[in-house]
């Protein structure tokens, strides 16, 4: 043990190792953050290609490109990859880069575990993706994998999917433990919890959510495994089980999961809007309390995903009221962001554009969420494209836009170079227009009665599907511009100052740009800049 510590001490002031082994063996939070972010971008493109296969097939009525079996594999893999491979790892990557720098810590508290929790992911997803090449094809039962479609009727590759989910869960839990331990133990002296930047707060709460629900997900896939291979009947009514039990357990994980994907986004936006409004975040305390309330409520509303499964009226009413309540803390957050902008001195650089689009489009997703909470109306909306439009509004211009905003915002700190503002704004406008052309018409197709997850549709839905597909291709190909901008910024560009942005506050802006390989080896003394 002491040998390890000495060794660590010896190369403390050295830079990174050379070559590939730097990335394989790294315990540096910045390296691991970079790995997570690149991994998630690769997964984002992979899941995106699958989305384009779906949209290409749906461009016109009739079956043109793929057969229904493969279509179902695409919808399933698209969902799994985007949720577990793109959005979640991207936020973990941001946490790795930023949490230590924001709280004045030298690194994450558990660096080796940090390395391990990243390196599980490529294997988990290689296994998941390899199922596309297996006999019987990849999982084809939707990312929600409802039993008995996924158990008695699933393809042979379901077992690989289950093992893949287990690995992702282990990775997430280890990552979360690391975030919690880091935040609770490694804050610079004097930084109380209520002085932490909101991004750190949202990640602390997110990490608790992950630790609470990933074991539930592991439990439900294990029950599936037992049903498939060991003749149990958890989800088989013929053996005394209940298919609806699956949904209860799944959504007990699944609902907090959607907040896992949005709370860090709230943190990002709460950092960016004050910077470009040149004004302190409005209502910091209420933001913290609202985040905690949303996290708590997320545990007690799961059955609103299941209003049509035949829940008794008392249950329906309870879940409706509880779900509607979420609108209150979420509203508080939106109002706080608007109040932060109010009477500021705003400029509209790319991160700010993405953040403002986040506030507007996430709110639209929130409105459709409120509509979906109303049980009688949900009977008409449920499992239609209205739901698809709803959750894509909160996930794409919600979570994904916040991740892009974060990359533009902190990229100069990471690389030491400014990105090209004109290209950044072009990327923003293409994405903004693409996202809205893709998902806004889906509200209409849903209301008009188009079910989700169908490879072919009746003729009255044709026009909106065609528009939607055009938007999807625009949005998809715009992301290549994002890749180009990021690579160009890494290679060079105008040198960034330490503060980078005129209105930026926080410890990460007090260190040089690019951030040195090791930062805050001694804790910072001056915490007046700790949160904006």
């Amino acid at each position: 043990m002491s040998a390890v510590i000495e060794e660590h001490h010896d190369d403390h002031h050295h830079g990174p190792d050379k070559g590939i082994m730097r990335w394989v063996l790294t315990t540096n939070h910045k390296d691991i953050g970079t790995l997570y972010l690149w991994f998630s971008f690769i997964m984002f493109l992979t899941g995106g290609v699958m989305a384009l296969v779906i949209r290409a097939e749906l461009f016109q009525p009739g079956l043109q490109l793929v057969q229904p079996e493969f279509f179902n594999q695409m919808t399933t893999m698209h969902g799994l990859i985007m949720v577990f491979g793109a959005v979640m790892p991207a936020f973990v990557g941001l946490a790795n880069w930023l949490v230590p720098m924001m709280i004045g810590a030298p690194d994450m508290a558990l660096p080796r575990m940090n390395n391990f929790s990243f390196w599980i992911l490529p294997f988990a997803f290689a296994m998941l993706l390899s199922s596309l090449l297996m006999e019987g094809g990849a999982p084809n039962f939707g990312w929600t994998f409802y039993a008995p479609l996924s158990t008695d009727y699933g393809p042979p590759s379901t077992t690989f999917f289950i093992f893949g989910v287990h690995l992702m869960g282990i990775s997430s839990i280890m990552g979360s433990i690391n975030v919690i331990v880091t935040i609770l133990n490694l804050r610079a002296p004097g930084m109380t919890l209520m002085k932490m930047p909101l991004f750190v707060w949202t990640w602390l709460i997110t990490a608790y959510l992950l630790i609470a629900v990933m074991p539930v997900l592991a439990g439900v896939v294990t029950m599936m495994l037992m049903d498939i291979h060991f003749n149990t009947a958890f989800f088989n009514a013929g053996g005394g089980g209940d298919p609806v039990l699956f949904q209860h357990v799944f959504w007990f994980f699944g609902h907090p999961e959607v907040y896992i994907m949005i709370l860090p986004a709230f943190g990002v936006v709460s950092a960016i809007i004050p910077t470009f409004a040149r004004k302190r975040l409005f209502g910091y305390d209420s933001m913290v309390y609202a985040t905690a309330s949303i996290a708590f409520l997320s545990f007690i509303v799961w059955a609103h995903h299941m209003f049509t499964v035949g829940i008794p009226i008392a249950g329906e009413l309870y879940f409706m009221y509880a779900t509607m309540l979420i609108a209150v803390p979420t509203g508080v957050k939106v109002f706080n962001w608007v109040a932060t902008m109010w009477q500021g001195s705003m400029t509209f650089e790319t991160p700010m554009l993405f953040s403002i689009a986040f506030v507007i489009l996430f709110t639209i997703g929130g409105f459709s969420g409120l509509m979906l909470a109303i049980v009688p109306a949900d009977f008409q909306y449920h499992d239609t494209y209205f739901v698809v439009a709803h959750f894509h509004y909160v996930l794409v211009p919600g979570s994904v836009f916040s991740i892009m905003a974060a990359v533009y915002y902190w990229l100069p700190k990471w690389t030491g170079n400014m990105y090209n503002e004109t290209l950044g704004k072009t990327h923003f406008w293409l994405s903004f227009i693409g996202v809205n052309i893709t998902f806004f018409p889906q509200h209409f197709t849903g209301l008009a009665g188009m079910p989700r997850r169908i490879p072919d549709y009746a003729l009255q839905f044709a026009d909106y599907n065609m528009i939607s597909s055009c938007g999807a291709f625009l949005f998809g190909f715009s992301q290549l511009l994002f890749l180009f901008i990021v690579i160009r910024t890494i290679k060079g560009g105008k040198k960034a100052t330490d503060q980078v942005w005129e209105g930026a506050h926080g410890l990460e802006w007090t260190i040089p740009s690019p951030a040195p390989y090791h930062t805050f080896s001694t804790p910072p003394k001056d915490l007046s800049e700790a949160h904006g």
């Binding site: 179902n72 298919p243 004004k279 035949g310 009226i313 508080v332 009477q343 001195s345 909106y464």
Partner: protein
């Protein structure tokens, strides 16, 4: 075809961008109002929430836009220093709560009405199967029970773009559900295999069909007409191809239809006793195969292994006939192979098994009589 479509699309996009209201040719943009009291209540509720959301949106986005226009650094705006206001925070916590209560009250009323099933005039069992619906008109006298399977009618040629698509593409069935208007119909919804969902938008009825459980829903349809819906829960390969069509007709017309169905059922059972020729069995068998088996085992019998095995030259189709009958009648647990004993009559079962044993070069020469299948069915009970 594609060119015509894209010009239509460009026109449509232009209309959309110019905020034009001429959407008549575009199908409905909004939820259907439907033809039951409940469906209209649901529609009104939907419009109320939508209106509330639009109003809140106008206020919130309005403030944002004003702020973005006025409070710009380029206009020389100096940032204010306020960063909290307890009174404001209370205000925008309490106002949303009041609005939410205002929405919850009517929603609760409608939901209570929907759950109040009451005494029904007619009970229909709706059973979801991969990938069709089976309807049973429950009757205290089992010999008068009407039962049939409703399959997608749209031909594969239309789906594969080899023929022009009809007006009701993917929303047409060979045998629709027929119900009388102004009667309280109770739907008892269940499933044979995976979870499906029975959804008719015009009735505001959407209920999951869960294997092993029976869920209840009801409707009083006020206007005669043809109402179309689809399965709403992902149920496998042909989830997009199991539509629902309901004919709501006047009571007298319903009674005539029902009597006809009951007579039809009686005639079918009479044919069971007669001796069929091989040619008759093959002809009927080919029809049944195309209607029932082809989706999975394909027209050439080759299937899509491993999920849907080939029937040509291997397996039960050329093996012992009893095992072949057993799998067709009772299905195979844990696979997509359903128990067709309850979906097809003995003559159809005998015909399709005979067909499978002699088509595509299987040439076993076996001829299976309906009477033998009937013996197995009744003997098994």
């Amino acid at each position: 075809m594609i060119r015509a479509k894209s010009s239509q699309w460009i026109t449509g996009l232009f209309l959309l961008l110019s905020g034009h209201a001429a959407f008549a040719g575009w199908g409905d943009l909004n939820m259907t109002r439907g033809v039951t009291e409940i469906s209209r209540e649901v529609y009104d509720l939907h419009m109320i929430i939508f209106g509330v959301c639009v109003l809140i949106g106008i206020v919130v986005f309005g403030v944002m836009i004003v702020s973005m226009l006025m409070h710009r650094k380029s206009l020389g705006a100096k940032p204010a220093t306020f960063h909290e206001n307890t009174r404001l925070e209370y205000l925008w916590t309490i106002i949303p709560i009041v609005i939410l209560i205002g929405l919850a009250v009517p929603a609760t009323g409608t939901l209570r009405a929907m759950y109040d099933a009451g005494e029904s005039d007619l009970d229909i069992e709706v059973r979801g199967l991969q990938w069709k619906w089976q309807y049973t008109y429950l009757n205290e006298d089992p010999t008068r029970e009407v039962k049939f399977v409703s399959n997608l009618l749209t031909p594969a040629t239309e789906i594969n773009n080899q023929a022009d698509k009809g007006q009701f593409y993917l929303l047409e069935v060979d045998e629709p559900l027929v119900i009388p208007v102004n009667k309280r119909i109770r739907f008892l919804i269940t499933s044979e295999d995976v979870i499906h969902a029975w959804w008719v938008p015009a009735f505001a009825v959407k209920k999951d069909a869960v294997p092993g459980f029976v869920h209840e829903s009801w409707a009083i349809v006020e206007e005669p007409g043809v109402y179309r819906g689809q399965c709403a829960e992902l149920c496998g390969k042909d989830h997009g191809f199991m539509p629902i069509v309901v004919h709501a007709v006047e009571q007298s017309e319903y009674e005539t239809w029902l009597a006809g169905k009951q007579e039809e059922a009686r005639l079918v059972y009479e044919t069971v006793g007669k001796e069929w020729t091989k040619d008759e069995l093959m002809a009927t068998g080919e029809d049944v195969y195309a209607r029932v088996c082809q989706t999975c085992h394909q027209a050439n019998g080759q299937g899509i292994p491993p999920a849907f095995p080939s029937l040509v030259g291997t397996g039960l189709s050329v093996g012992p006939i009893d095992a072949h009958i057993d799998i067709v009648v009772n299905g195979k647990a844990g696979t997509a192979m359903q128990a067709f004993g309850s979906q097809l009559n003995p003559a159809e079962l005998a015909a399709v098994i005979t067909y499978e044993r002699n088509a595509w070069g299987n040439d076993t020469g076996d001829v299976l009589q309906p009477s033998r299948v009937n013996e197995m069915l009744t003997g098994g009970q």
